[in-house]
Amino acid sequence: MSSDLDRRLRAYQGRPAACGTGKDPVNAPMIRHWCEAIGDRNPAWAGKEPLAPPAMLQVWTMAGLSGGPPVDPPGGPSGSPPPSALPELTALLAESGCTAVVATDCEQEYLRPLRPGEVITFESVIESVSPRKKTRLGHGHFITTVMEIRADGIPAGRHRFRVLRYAPGAPPEKPAGPRPERPRPVVNRDNAGFWDGVAERRLLIQRCTACGRLRFPWLPGCAACGSPHWTTVESAGTGTVHSYVVMHHPPFPAFDPPYAVGLIELAEGVRMISNVVGVEPGRITVGMPVRLEFLSAGEGQLLPVFRAVEPGRRMLPPMTVPITRTLIVAGALASRDFQDVHHDPEAARAKGAPDIFMNILTTNGLVGRYIGENFGPRAVIEKMAIRLGVPNYPGDTLTLTGTVAEDGDPREVTVTGVNALGRHVSAAVVLREAGR
């Protein structure tokens, strides 16, 4: 039965998905609204002759609130567009119970920047329809479409987009919401200063004012000279893995085994236990360089953790984005995405989510903003591929971190965004640093 469905689904591969002309040409007001929503202050997108941010590529193809078929290309070269097979495919999946949809992946190639006044035309085909998969959201099928985008008739970009059409669990297999909290730090008067520092995103080391020795863990006296007098120094946040453990058993609700715990030797010479993140546990080595960052581990609890840097790469500074309701709604509307789960809490709850959540176009925009903040307005993004993990709900905080290859042009950048639920996005970006 299911294999019969799979066979029918496979028949949609290669059929047209959408074809048409963007409802508005590329224009400065939409660019400005979008930049304001995303918080993108890249000067390349402003001024008298703004360029469109590459992460807006899909925005120009969106149908908007009125929905309906895309506008036919007026007297376009291909005449009247072929009918889309997507409505039929969507109906077939809905019949099989897959009534909900969520975007999971977006891969874009940018052939040239878009400028106001250019008319966008696009053609997309259904690249693949997956057999039924079990996912965290429920059973469903991944549908991948590939869209060729032209501006004023000249190729401007390619957009590969994957959505999951799934049968929402009723009731959901796992109640939505934050995972159980990690064990809290044990705090008393002797070490409160350390955790106060962590709350301000500072890693403080005690320093004996009598003999000058740095010490960790925190104690009310110096093991070297016995003096009770001390001050603190702030760690520069760099270090190496002195030893590490990969935890498998027994399971603890707040952790996903296998996970890595490291003994970090800070550049200042003291050691502390923390987590090693940003690298598969199996690729950690003793001596690997790491850099401090702060992980939000539940209500009001930050933890210092260490991101591993693989050889030949360097870290990018983190960017923290408060996930406000305004950001989610403004980002969705500025990207012409009127799916109700991104602005209507009631509708989101009806589809099994605890609240509204950020759309993929906004996440794409935030990754683009992170690249701009790190590489400046002259950097040109050639490709950007993102994969979504856990959702961004209001009240959370998204922290983007990245690494970049030390050499090469174009350069390859990886970006990871985590929130309190886990990994929200992984992205691979290819850019030319001084392309403009």
Binding site: R182, P183, R184, P185, V186, V187, N188, D190, N191, F216, P217, A223, H242, S243, Y244, V245, V246, M247, H248, H249, P250, F252, A254, F255, P258, Y259, V261, L263, V270, R271, M272, I273, S274, N275, P281, V286, A297, Q301, L303, V305
Partner: protein
């Protein structure tokens, strides 16, 4: 015993009685009942009546208070009662406490005991996620939020560094597991009686806290064990030939922690046991080559290798090769990996049997037996010898 001058304890007290319950995964009785049963057995072994006991020593972790145990066993007035802290690190130190009391005349007959339902009750391996904000809780608390929550995980951090420093692979830990299980296979009291192990089976066992596999971790046990300590003179009049306490020592190192000793200069060693070893050798004038049997606390295999190195049986990083060479009978009861996990107390009982000549895996001519307590924590050790 002192760090700087030889002590005068050696030869003044002896272990005169040993007693144990069966070792199981579910005892079906209370920890107090297990303790009382073990104490009665040890007194019967020594040929002493409960009324002759005037001192009791146990671990701070034990749930059976000395005064309650005394009532349950029929022991009357006590002139000495004491407890030793730091988990399995207390094992040999309870005997040291008893010997000190006997040597100074504080008590005449002291019973050391430890009993728990560690398998069917609260399992140490299940990990702890919460601690009180005491100094001890804070010390352990530095690692909890990061998911380092079990004894295996704390040892694994040291074990990884050990492998790195010496360029070894985790499979070398299998030497210890195979050796212990070989002895357990011929010990009817052992949980793994009749079940030896191969290196391949060790290497195929699943990861617990990498680089530690399941078979690098000792078992978990329900049971009780007790030891009777009295003066050497009195012991000579009792049923068995005395196991003379030639030396007893405790040790804590610089920057000592409780299982989380990650901040000291070299984490690929066990300096607390170095403190113990230096005292034992100096006090007795003996060295590694004078020992016929070693009972080294085997909660986790890597720490057995590091103990051999710390005590001078072999050089740093050579522990696995040393075990493979099989020149020193090691954990002849099967250890805690093979016989039972009784917080090290069953190892002391095995040392006594070797000196009496009654061990199931008897080593001919065993005259000096070294016993250690749990390492990675403040620890202790004993050098026991045959009388005469």
């Amino acid at each position: 015993m002192s760090l700087r001058i030889p002590d005068r304890l050696g030869g003044r007290a002896a272990i005169a009685g040993i007693g144990a319950t069966e070792f199981s995964k579910d005892s079906g009785r209370s920890e107090l009942a297990l303790a009382a049963e073990a104490v009665r057995a040890a007194l019967a072994d020594a040929g002493l009546r409960p009324g002759e006991v005037d001192g009791l020593v146990t671990f701070t972790m034990d749930t059976s208070p000395e005064i309650t145990l005394a009532q349950a066993v029929g022991i009357g007035e006590l002139s000495f009662f004491s407890r030793v802290h730091y988990g399995g690190g207390a094992a040999c130190a309870v005997v040291q406490q008893a010997a000190l009391a006997v040597a100074t005349g504080t008590a005449e007959v002291v019973v050391c005991y430890r009993a728990f339902n560690e398998r069917s009750g609260r399992r140490f391996g299940a990990g702890a996620q919460r601690h009180q904000p005491s100094a001890e809780g804070v010390a352990l608390g530095w690692v909890l939020p990061f998911g380092l929550l079990t004894p295996a995980s704390w040892v694994a951090m040291t074990a990884r560094r050990y492998l790195h420093v010496h360029g070894l692979r985790p499979e070398v830990f299998g030497r210890v597991a195979v050796s212990c299980r070989r002895y357990a296979a011929t010990n009817p009291a052992a949980y793994f009686y009749g079940r030896p192990l191969t290196l391949a089976e060790h290497a195929a066992s699943r990861w617990i806290a990498e680089p530690l596999r399941l078979l690098d971790c000792c078992q978990e046990t329900d049971g009780g064990l007790a030891l009777v300590v009295t003066s050497l003179e009195r012991a000579r009049d009792l049923r068995h030939s005395p196991a003379v306490i030639r030396a007893a020592a405790q040790g804590a190192g610089h920057a000592q922690e409780m299982m989380t000793g990650f901040y000291r200069a070299d984490i690929a060693s066990l300096p607390e046991l170095g403190v113990v070893g230096r005292q034992l050798w100096r006090s007795t004038g003996l060295g590694p080559s004078d020992v016929q049997v070693a009972i080294l606390y085997d909660h986790f295999t890597p720490f057995v290798l590091m103990q051999l190195e710390e005590l001078g049986f072999c050089g740093p990083g050579e522990g696995a090769e040393f075990v493979a060479e099989d020149v020193l009978p090691l954990n002849t009861h099967g250890g805690q990996l093979g016989e039972a996990y009784l917080h090290g107390m069953n190892g002391i009982a095995e040392a006594v049997r070797q000196l009496r000549g009654t061990a199931v895996n008897q080593v001919a001519g065993a005259a000096n037996v070294l016993v250690t307590a749990g390492t990675g924590v403040p620890t202790s050790g004993l050098l026991l010898g045959a009388d005469g």
